[in-house]
Symmetry: C2
Subunit: 196 residues, 2 copies
């Protein structure tokens, strides 16, 4: 059925390489040269396989979001308690302070900050990804409330927004060079807000 020369690269690996570039440089600042070099393919192949820069970004963001959410859902499910999951997540992130990983931040929050309330699909998808993160936090909060670790009187949606705000702020702190102490102390206070 398939005719002609088959592609010589892995679309999967190429998309992941593109994701790394957008993650490190941002949507607009990532040039096609950067992308081609990281993806190790020619201009023709990029446009043939991924359409254009915008579509490539959407694919990269989609992969990042789905990979992140899948990992978080898996960890939440496997965690002895939802509160423990949240503690682990935020404390581990705070521990990244000073590292290259911390300087990268999170592709979703990075993109939301860069693209703001623009009209195009990249901005819309970034914002929708934040909604998805908040939904996952709300799941965790509700389970934590059922388990008795999280204040049951509080509105779960409000606590979820609070956590998204906290993670977004934590990412900004880390990007702007906060120390491990600063980040982990801030996270400790944030997590205290769940208990009472």
């Amino acid at each position: 059925m398939t005719r002609g020369r088959p592609i010589a690269f892995s679309p999967d690996e190429a998309a992941n390489a593109a994701m790394q570039v957008f993650w490190a440089r941002g949507y607009e600042s990532a040039s096609t040269r950067d992308l081609l070099e990281a993806m190790r393919l020619s201009r023709s192949s990029l446009y043939q396989a991924f359409g254009n820069k915008e579509q490539l970004f959407l694919e990269a963001l989609r992969r990042y979001r789905e990979s992140l959410l899948a990992r978080l859902e898996r960890r939440l499910e496997a965690a002895p308690s939802a509160m423990g999951f949240l503690e682990m997540l935020f404390c581990e992130t705070a521990q990244e302070a000073g590292s290259e990983r911390a300087a990268l931040g999170c592709l979703i929050f990075n993109s939301a900050s860069e693209l703001g309330q623009q009209d195009g699909l990249p901005s819309q998808h970034a914002r929708q990804s934040i909604v998805a993160i908040t939904a996952l936090f709300q799941q965790a909060v509700m389970r934590g409330q059922a388990e008795g670790d999280i204040a049951p009187k509080r509105n779960a949606a409000a606590l979820a927004s609070y956590l998204t705000m906290g993670m977004a702020g934590l990412r900004t702190l880390l990007k702007s060079g906060a120390t491990t102490d600063q980040a982990s102390q801030a996270v400790e206070l944030l997590l205290d807000g769940l208990r009472r």
Copy 2:
């Protein structure tokens, strides 16, 4: 003493116009065309008066920072209580949800997010501006502790980082289209963290 033709524009107004452009579009995405149009002067005059784009940005960021800090210090000083000042600040910001003002965000947090841990002066100055904001928060926290409104046992520096994290996160929430309810609920929980 001064000889020759005097400049036909107000350097002060021109710098403020440039600040608006960097605020709305970001450092890299703000083109010299955007800047010239907003500042209403010719290329020659821009380079003559401000050096280049980087120096113009540094001047814009400096103005934004000093104006913001001066306003906040004034409001803190005038406030009946430091806790009241913080409540007012965060609640007012949350109320911006959905507005054009919310979509702009804060030039300092925007720049810190865009420029991350880069080597150049723009990045360094953005990060230093966040340090200055945290210092102001710490002042407010210490006064709030003295006034009995803020948990006296807590480390003031830790609470200050917590507030900077909160404001950074709140700005991200607002940029990504959070509703007034989401933002103000998250802020309420954040402020509760100061009391206990």
